[in-house]
């Protein structure tokens, strides 16, 4: 009898432990949405719908997002919003596993370049019907950037990133060179950049004893697809994929010409090459630290430049040899989980509408300075154009929409970008010729695309 009793005590201890362990595993989701339990109860009482909203963020934007969500819930008492957020890298790493486990948020903020990754794998809802019904497309920037090749919309932009040419006015003044203007071609840029390049012993390109391997100040810094090679390739008439995004068009004369421009600039020390970039804590740090006179940058880069207190401005990106221009766009967007219930999806769409249509929301978000507002009326208003911070010429970002395009984003974007980077870097560092780089990139990328689209 006594033994029985101690046995059952032990059994209950273990039971408690098991429950505790089980509790731990679901704990992470309860901390994500602290108020979810309370919502569940009120849910059954008042026919309320609770949606879980996921977004990536940093400190300040987190707070603002919460404010806007509170405003939304006030306006829509029938909808409760619980949130989960994490820094960028963690957010997307977790998201994939959450989708696999059927635990993903009902609606989440997707990096613009990843929308097609989710769309073409059936993880997010087709929003075409709702977009057509509820949004006046003329009023927004960037809706078309979430349109696939069949004209379907998979997300609604939350904020737009678009590329422009940043230049450090102080460095231009020191060198006694005119600021960049809208008539520039990439050749003009390089000519001026050469005048702004200074090596460790204060010599300029063309001076005797100039050492292109030890540069103190670069004329232009660029890196990555968005803020580097893609806009150059495109304005030279080249590119990576065809219009239906399933054929590589890499091995072309236009691309070759563009790459020649880059490699020449890099070997002369005017443009940062991949090895140069490694010597900075981050590739993004070169311009804000004052080590480069110009950069190709998306809108979000004003934050770092302002924080560094640079005296700088922006203008549209230069033209290619035939006068063609191209500005890269990333439309970070709200997408709705495909496996969420209709009721929740509808509530999630209410949030999207609230985000896109309400001027107040757009203005509040624009004040953070992270992205170009989605709504044209707000982007063209004082709130955005005459913000107290630099740069002065914010119109340049809006003008760039006239010649803007996506980064040939498809379902396997991250994968083919990695391959292209690999081959381009080899050419940049003169480990292979430009012809070899293009040929190999063409072959490898076609393989990657074929593998996904073969069925």
């Amino acid at each position: 009898m006594k033994q029985h009793k101690s046995f059952s005590i032990l059994l209950s201890i273990i039971l408690v432990m098991v429950i505790f362990i089980a509790g731990c595993s679901s704990n992470s989701s309860t901390t994500d949405n602290e108020s979810s339990n309370e919502n569940d109860t009120s849910n059954s009482e008042e026919e309320q719908v609770t949606i879980n909203l996921g977004f990536y963020s940093g400190g300040e934007s987190d707070e603002k997002m919460q404010e806007l969500i509170d405003g939304f819930m006030e306006k829509h008492p029938e909808i409760k919003v619980t949130t989960q957020s994490a820094p960028y890298g963690q957010f997307f790493q977790k998201l994939d596993t959450q989708i696999a486990a059927g635990e993903a948020p009902d609606i989440w903020l997707s990096d613009g370049v990843l929308v097609m990754k989710y769309a073409e794998r059936g993880a997010v809802k087709d929003l075409t019907e709702w977009v057509n019904r509820d949004l006046n497309k003329e009023e927004y920037y960037g809706l078309e950037f979430n349109e696939d090749t069949n004209g379907k919309y998979w997300g609604v932009p939350q904020g737009i990133q678009i590329g422009a040419l940043y230049y450090n006015k102080d460095l231009f003044d020191q060198a006694g060179v005119d600021y960049p203007n809208e008539d520039w071609t990439w050749e003009d840029l390089k000519e001026v950049a050469a005048k702004l390049t200074i090596d460790a012993s204060d010599k300029k390109p063309g001076d005797e004893g100039f050492n292109s391997d030890n540069i103190k100040q670069f004329g232009l810094t660029f890196f990555s697809i968005t803020e580097g090679w893609f806009p150059v390739l495109k304005s030279y008439g080249g590119g990576i994929l065809n219009d239906s995004l399933n054929k590589s068009i890499i091995n072309s004369d236009e691309n070759k010409q563009a790459l020649e421009w880059m490699v020449d600039g890099m070997s002369r020390g005017i443009i940062t090459d991949p090895a140069d970039l490694k010597s900075f804590q981050s590739s993004m740090a070169v311009f804000p630290s004052g080590s480069a006179a110009m950069r190709i940058g998306i809108y979000a880069r004003v934050l770092a430049a302002n924080e560094a207190g640079l005296n700088y401005d922006v203008t549209v990106l230069p033209k290619g040899p035939d006068g063609e221009r191209f500005s890269p766009v990333i439309a970070n967007s709200w997408v709705i989980n495909d496996s969420t219930s209709d009721k929740k999806a509808k509530a999630a769409w209410e949030w999207i509408k609230y985000w896109a249509t309400e001027d107040e929301v757009q203005k509040e978000w624009a004040a953070l300075g992270e992205a170009v507002p989605v709504k044209k009326s707000v982007a063209n208003s004082e709130v955005f154009l005459n913000a107290s911070d630099k740069p002065e010429n914010r119109e340049a970002f809006l003008e760039s929409f006239d010649f803007a395009g996506t980064l040939d984003t498809n379902a396997v974007w991250s994968e083919w970008v990695a391959k292209f980077n690999e081959h381009a870097q080899r050419a940049f560092l003169k480990e292979s010729t430009i012809d070899e780089a293009l040929e190999n990139a063409d072959k490898d990328i076609q393989e990657i695309v074929d593998e996904f689209y073969k069925e």
Binding site: L11, A100, V417
Partner: protein
């Protein structure tokens, strides 16, 4: 009292045949059940799942599709797999003996009666507890090709500055150097424990017989701590095959995953390759296949080490 217990156990022994589990057996099972449940749910389950995934096409966002040996076929035809396998082996070949040797050397030095001994031991343990991100900043201060001390030093000596982590030839040796610096303190502590278990009488006896310091070390210390050496070698081998964070952080993966393992994949080790394929490109099935190959390699290596130990490890 005594006899009572004896009869009790004997009755249990007789009933054992009839029942699947004895009373004590049930207790035992109950007592280990928290671990057992954990083991089944979080170890055996995922293990079986990953084996299944390795035979399917799985992108995490959609259910897996059975694909037979496709992933393994692709793996064995992929030059990058062989390159990452070689990088991993190269890392291990440099790392394991260097770390074991240095750890032993340090342990012997710190097993003496020195002043401020605890301080020395602590100093060697500090890198062990620092995170790789912190270590990366220290490494950058030294090996940054542009501002680093190492290049300044070379230039002062009139030598050519190096590209260090950006140099395909130098990257792995340099990573090993840093890994040894960071890990040696831990192995040193294991060795210290081993050294302190060597009975002093043996040294005293040897001294009477006229053995010198080197002779004592060779004939007494080394054989008696050979189980420790074995442990250190097995542990370091496993660490190298699982090396991820260091290379990820030090080759720039934190900023851009496609940078990790550079330059030109010269430091792409199996774990990084697995991570990139699985989590960046959503080839989870392929990544699972890599994981299983990695497991088989480690398993064989450990078997080899276990077999080899008979020849040189002495257990009292």
């Amino acid at each position: 009292m005594e006899s009572q217990r004896v009869t009790q156990t004997s009755t249990i022994l007789t009933t054992k045949k009839r029942r699947l589990l004895t009373h004590e057996g049930r207790w035992g099972l109950l007592l280990v059940s928290p671990y057992l449940i954990h083991f089944i749910v979080f170890v055996v389950g995922p293990l079986i799942a990953s084996l299944y995934f390795s035979f399917s096409q799985y992108d995490m966002l959609n259910p897996p599709n059975w694909a037979g040996l496709e992933n393994y076929e692709k793996l064995f035809n992929e030059p990058l797999f062989y390159k990452s396998l070689w990088n991993t082996l190269y890392f291990a070949i440099l790392f394991v003996p260097t770390q074991a040797f240095l750890a032993l050397l340090l342990a012997v030095a710190l097993n003496q009666k020195l002043k401020a001994l605890k301080l020395y031991r602590m100093a060697h343990f500090i890198p062990v507890i620092s995170s790789w991100t912190v270590v990366m900043y220290v490494v950058d201060a030294i090996f940054n090709p542009r501002f680093g001390m190492a290049n300044n030093f070379l230039i002062k000596l009139g030598l050519e500055p190096q590209r260090w982590l950006n140099d395909e030839q130098l990257v792995i040796p340099l990573l090993v150097l840093v890994a040894v610096w960071k890990g040696v303190g831990y192995m040193m502590v294991i060795y210290l424990a081993g050294l302190q278990n060597v009975p002093n009488e043996l040294y005293e006896a040897a001294e009477i017989d006229g053995a010198g310091t080197i002779k004592k070390f060779k004939s007494i210390t080394l054989p008696l701590i050979s189980p420790t050496t074995f442990l250190v070698i097995v542990l370091s081998t496993i660490t190298t095959f699982q090396a991820f964070e260091q290379i990820y952080v030090m080759t720039g993966g934190a900023a851009d995953i496609t940078e990790a393992g550079g330059p030109n994949d010269a430091s792409l080790v199996l774990m990084l390759y697995l991570y990139r394929e699985g989590f960046s490109f959503l080839h989870m099935g392929y990544a699972s296949a890599i994981a299983w190959i990695l497991f088989i390699i480690l398993f064989l290596l450990t078997l080899l080490q276990l077999w080899g130990q008979k020849k040189w490890v002495h257990y009292n």
